[in-house]
């Protein structure tokens, strides 16, 4: 009786694990450059199309994630590149940055974000009055 229970469980595990595909997790390269009006963030997502990019904000954290499908060439000898998940988070200090004004653009596997500075933090000249 116990032996039957054990074999039934093994079979269930076998089915479950054979369906799971290995997904490679990668932290994509990022390039952050400041400007007077805010910060530009470039994230490298090679092989990823715009439909597969997800950008979300939770509190002060901006998270970018994207899935790149597997790359295989059947009938050729060479690597089988697994499906790849790119994910990276950035903390944006709420007071200095205008989180509502973030813009994003994807082209040629490169995501470009722009995070503008909050109005009070933009550079401005202060006039000196004479007395």
């Amino acid at each position: 009786m116990e032996k039957e229970m054990v074999t039934a469980e093994n079979k269930e595990n076998e089915e479950k694990y054979s369906e799971q595909k290995f997904v490679r997790r990668v932290i994509p390269h990022a390039n952050v450059h400041p400007s007077e009006k805010g910060f530009g963030i470039e994230i490298e997502l090679p092989g990823v199309s715009i439909d597969e990019v997800d950008i979300s904000m939770t509190g002060e954290h901006l998270t970018v994630s994207a899935m790149r499908p597997a790359v295989e060439h059947v009938g050729y000898s060479g690597p089988s590149l697994p499906p790849t998940k790119y994910a990276r988070s950035f903390r944006l200090r709420a007071t200095a940055l205008d989180r509502e004004g973030i813009t994003a653009k994807v082209s040629d596997g490169l995501l470009k974000l722009f995070v503008p500075k909050a109005p009070g933090f933009q550079p401005r000249k202060i006039t000196i009055s004479q007395n």
């Binding site: 990022a30 450059h33 400007s35 050729y76 060479g78 690597p79 040629d108 596997g109």
Partner: protein, 130 residues
């Protein structure tokens, strides 16, 4: 029938050019290659580059991939940009290719080059007679 030896570290490589390619690239995935008896495929990751920004050249048994980058000297807080974009990548081809039939295309920052082997050099079956 054919004895197999388990102690051959270079057993997975068929040609010297494959060994050279492997040593130069290590385990990085930004440049990957596939081959069979008829064709060689090269896949290079060049995020941010489109078909107009990339030059692909074949000379003899070397494939050259050049990405033309607009130099951006502005200040960066973080610059992890892949260095592959600043250099020329060279790939040693395992066989002579038919240059006129080489095809290259770019999609989402990934370049794929297909190089068909010269017809006369493709492997041919030899009949075994009694």
């Amino acid at each position: 029938m054919f004895a197999t030896r388990n102690t051959e570290p270079l057993a997975s490589f068929n040609t010297l050019s494959q060994i050279i390619n492997h040593l130069e690239l290590g385990e990085s995935t930004d440049l990957a290659m596939w081959s069979n008896s008829e064709e060689f495929i090269v896949r290079a990751e060049l995020p941010g580059f489109g078909s107009d920004d990339v030059e692909v050249e074949v000379e003899d048994r070397i494939l050259r991939i050049r990405a033309i980058e607009n130099s951006d000297d502005s200040e960066s807080y973080l610059n992890e940009k892949s260095t592959v974009q600043r250099n020329e990548r060279r790939v040693h081809l395992p066989f002579v290719v038919n240059i006129d039939s080489v095809k290259a295309k770019m999609d989402n920052g990934v370049l794929e080059v297909r190089l068909p082997r010269v017809e006369s050099e493709r492997p041919r079956k030899i009949e075994v007679n009694n």
